[in-house]
Amino acid sequence: MSTALIPLADEVGGIDFAATTFVIVCASLVLLMTTPGLALFYGGLTRSKSILNMMMMSFGAMGVVGIVYVLWGYSMSFGTEDIGGVIANPFQLFGLTNVADSVVNPFGYEGYGNIPELAFVGFQLTFAVITAALISGAVADRVKFSTWMVFVPLWVTLAYFPIAHMVWGGGLLSGAETSLSSLVYGSTDGAANVAPIDFAGGTVVHINAGMAALVLALVIGKRVGFGKVMMRPHNVPLVMIGAGLLWFGWFGFNAGSELAADETAALVWVNTTVATCAAMVGWLLVEKFRDGRATSVGAASGVVAGLVAITPACGSLSPVGSIALGAVAGALAALAVGLKYKLGYDDSLDVVGVHLVAGLWGTIGAGLLAVEGGLFYGGGVDQTVVQILIALAAVTVSGVVTLVIALALKATMGWRIPEDVEVTGIDQSEHAESAYDLTPRGSRMGGSSAGSGESRSSESLDLEGAK
């Protein structure tokens, strides 16, 4: 998605079946990233008493964002009735009016790439879902599920859709004539001279989610016992399964963002793979030298850091450039995750250290390492300056909007569950469930009135019958 225009296809009805298949499969892969990929990754990293709540925050995001996206999300992100370069009119395509028969060619390819607009809607829907779900890692163990379920639709409406519109929908952070980049470096024939690079969502997804995570962690506060009691991951194999599923699904995320099964999609696939390999090795090397051991959680985290960093850059780098970008991303994120203890905020599962840090690096690194126009390839500083500009813009918009929503919810619904309940475990209090039934003794069917005479007598009757 390096360009921002979505022209109608020249020949309506002339659908490119290869591209359409590709986009639908890729959209399904991105859904796999959230549920169960991210849910497992985050779930394994929490303590055993809160894994269900952690996974439910991903499932919950899937539920509400899917609905909101179809109702007004797509219209706000990709509608053509632009409002100040910030959003598009939410009512233009409300409920996907007039989208059903429409065919688009997002990048205006010649001779191929016509896909049904609904395929594009579905693909973009999955991006909104995972971006919201990513934030949940910062607030593990302690947040009312009801408040989360209100936060998510508000946040995607006020932060995600606007930033998606700005970057991909022809708004302020795109390569359009009216964008910030055109303001700084001018435009030619309706397009910015230096088009910002964000192929698959470094700003829209990762900087956005990472910044929101930081703000939420600050507003909501630390878990009971943060920095004192043991909060180690309770199921590392789940973390590794989740990271593996994220990696697999990410091919839909990155390669799919080309929206056609062409040579760029192939390049993106290779770049995504090697950057992730390099990031995992980079993270493990930092651990080996700093802590003396290469860990499993480190490998899984390095994978995610690499995927995050290559996301904006994957269409512009060479495979070797991708290795460099990935290695730095893994090492940087490995160093960044320790910051929360020094700075004293409880970003429980390191959404800031992984997504914000690697997202910033990937977005800015794309300016340094882009084969065309990158600083290290003799392209001058222009591209890098533009990249820093869009990164800072995304940080600012996400930070301010999230702060307003978080404070408003704090004052009204409240974020935290009671302290004693948090200590007992959020799964029991918020969902009335336990993830693991390891000692199934001393329990029976029946309501909260523990052991009513009726159920007990019917039980003993059954036993009589069995004799």
Binding site: R232, V297, A334, G338
Partner: protein, 112 residues
């Protein structure tokens, strides 16, 4: 009658079990336990954050024996459970006042 209780390393359990069977015991009860002695715990690192894990997994083994067998059974367990490294565990003996076999109602030494 005596109750012999042993806390041993989990991976020594099979050797201890075989040695006790060879000695002639017909049963035993084991449970998973956690604890530490002079061995102390160990440390784990997750994303650079170091945690000290004080309690390490152990196996608790219990057998009921006749008074005259108690000392020999302790010897058998110690010999089989010994690796010579710190954390091998402990064995102790306490007197048992009464005993019943649930199936038959037999009491005392008959129930062992």
């Amino acid at each position: 009658m005596k109750l012999v209780t042993a806390i041993i390393k989990p991976h020594q359990l099979d050797e201890v079990k075989e040695a006790l069977e060879a000695f002639g015991l017909q049963g035993m009860t084991i449970s998973e336990a956690q604890g530490y002695g002079r061995q102390r715990g160990h440390s784990e690192v997750y994303r650079g954050a170091e945690y000290t894990v004080d309690f390490v997994p152990k196996t608790r083994l219990e057998v009921l024996v006749d008074d005259m067998d108690a000392s020999s059974v302790v010897d058998v367990i110690v010999k089989a459970a010994q690796t010579g490294r710190i954390g091998d565990g402990k064995v102790w003996v306490v007197p048992v006042e009464d005993l019943a076999r649930v199936r038959t109602g037999e009491r005392g030494v008959e129930a062992i």
